[in-house]
């Protein structure tokens, strides 16, 4: 269980996390529609879904954390460390996919998993943008608490919307693609020995 949580940190994971972070940065800056101040309806939210599905929660979290820092640095709105941490927490929750048995690489993604995924997204957003980010924002930047909550509320809602509306179909598509590649039937033990 712990191993699934941490993910396997081999070269492939590292590269995938890095590419995910870069993808997040690019999509955050150029692939999003502003809905509110500091808040975007962003297609970048798809990154933790894919990274999480393929590599596990911790890689998803690192990917989101690094990606958000990158987006902050190249995006032209300054460095907002509170949002990066909030996004990291969200990534952890979204990337929980392999923990409850969804195995995209082997084409296992059923309705049951989809329901848990949606719950995870909602809980993750509530925790990340309902608790972590507002507290940090008002602590470090002394923004008005009400506005901060409103902002993070808008952020959480738009993230959840993207995660569910865009994320679910993509998860189904991915698992289908992988399933079609792995339609091999497992052979009895003695035959597989070389």
């Amino acid at each position: 269980m712990l191993k699934k949580f941490l993910g396997e940190w081999n070269t492939k994971t590292i590269v995938a996390v890095a590419i995910g972070a870069a993808l997040y940065g690019v999509l955050m800056v150029w692939g999003s529609i502003p809905v509110f101040t500091n808040t975007n309806l962003t297609s970048a939210m798809i990154v933790p879904v894919v990274v999480g599905a393929l590599f596990g929660p911790l890689p998803a979290m690192v990917s989101l954390l690094v990606g958000n820092c990158l987006a902050d640095l190249i995006g032209g709105w300054g460095f907002w460390f509170d949002w990066s941490v909030g996004n990291g927490v969200l990534g952890l929750f979204v990337g929980l996919l392999p923990m409850y048995g969804a195995d995209i690489k082997n084409g296992i993604f059923k309705i049951k998993h989809a329901v848990i995924y949606v719950i995870c997204c909602i809980v993750g957003n509530a925790l990340a943008f309902g608790v972590v980010t507002p507290i940090m924002t008002s602590l470090f930047y002394s923004a008005d608490l009400e506005i901060t909550f409103l902002q993070s509320f808008a952020g959480g809602i738009s993230n959840t919307a993207v995660l569910v509306i865009v994320g679910l179909p993509i998860l189904f598509i991915l698992s289908k693609r992988y399933a079609s590649r792995t339609n091999l039937v497992e052979e009895p033990e003695e035959l597989t020995e070389e």
């Binding site: 590269v15 529609i33 500091n38 690192v62 190249i74 032209g76 709105w77 300054g78 002394s142």
Partner: protein
């Protein structure tokens, strides 16, 4: 779109460019801590001046820099301030300690005070300062230097690789993104003027090929890294890391001073002798604000 790229891949030649990666990362951390710690406009002005001096000394392409500040002004300066005014006009009182109302609606629900304007301005300025420090950092550093600097601060080198690799692949992915976008537009998909649900749908349609092409790279890159024995040893040396020069020692001296000042400021001015309100405002008397200078 390319206008907005500020990332350096080739080390520059000005004194700040020549600094060691460690110095740059430490400097950025110091400035970020300083910005987070303070709500005093005078301190922020000093930090901002310092950052802009650094930016100017690197002779950057000013166009994207100006664009970034303009973007920030629209998003936070105008819209953000408007929100403060609409949602909690009383924050002028709670943040600076006084209220001089000069305009209000009939019922008194919406009102505008000079302190509120000051608060909005100071908040905006804090963001401007934060952006200027980010620009200073991003202009001065190359991805490898960033990785080397992070590693010298005891960050696991695999994380450093992630950071530098992500930085490096951004232009590639941005190019793929533009290519996909252009080819979609060639086929008559409207991206600029579509309605919100439509726009979202178009973005999703762009997403699938982008995801595929990006994650297809993973195999190639990781194989070539494995072939070069990546991750076989515990440590790693960095090509871009050079021994500290005279300029580095001077810069590190300044950074140490800055850290000491931050510690002093946080301990003394934010805890022991904390002012009654967060924001310093020029015309609020010090008996109310608690800022005693």
């Amino acid at each position: 779109m390319n206008n907005r790229f500020l990332i350096n891949y080739i080390p520059g030649s000005t004194p700040i460019h020549k600094l060691n990666g460690t110095t740059k990362v430490l400097g950025f951390i110091a400035i970020t801590v300083a910005i987070i710690a303070t709500f005093d406009f005078r301190v922020m002005l000093a930090i901002f001046a310092l950052c802009m001096l650094g930016v100017a000394s690197m002779k950057p392409n000013w166009k994207p820099v100006a664009f970034m500040f303009g973007f920030l002004f629209v998003m936070n300066g105008i819209i953000g301030s408007l929100m403060v005014f609409l949602i909690s006009p009383e924050s002028g009182l709670t943040k600076t300690g006084m209220e001089t109302i000069f305009w209000q609606t009939e019922g008194g629900k919406l009102y505008m005070s000079w302190e509120l304007l000051w608060y909005a301005w100071a908040m905006f300025f804090k963001r401007v300062t934060s952006l200027s420090s980010a620009i200073l950092f991003i202009l001065s550093i190359t991805p490898s230097e960033l990785a080397a600097g992070l590693n010298s601060l005891k960050m696991p080198y695999k994380v450093c690789t992630i950071v530098s690799l992500a930085f490096r692949t951004i232009p590639d992915i941005a190019r793929d993104f533009t290519d996909i976008k252009n080819s979609m537009q060639m086929r008559g998909v409207e991206l600029e003027k579509a309605s919100l649900p439509n726009k979202l749908k178009q973005y999703v349609m762009m997403l699938v090929p982008l995801l595929m092409s990006s994650f297809a790279k993973v195999e190639n890159i990781s194989n070539s890294m494995d072939l070069r024995s990546y991750g076989k040893c515990k440590g790693r040396t960095w090509y871009s890391e050079h021994p500290a020069t005279k300029g580095d020692y001077i810069a590190r001296g300044v950074i140490v001073l800055m850290f000491l000042w931050c510690a002093f400021y946080i301990i003394f001015f934010r805890n022991i002798n904390a002012p009654a309100v967060d924001f310093w405002c020029p015309w609020v008397p010090k008996e109310i604000s608690g800022y005693w200078f």
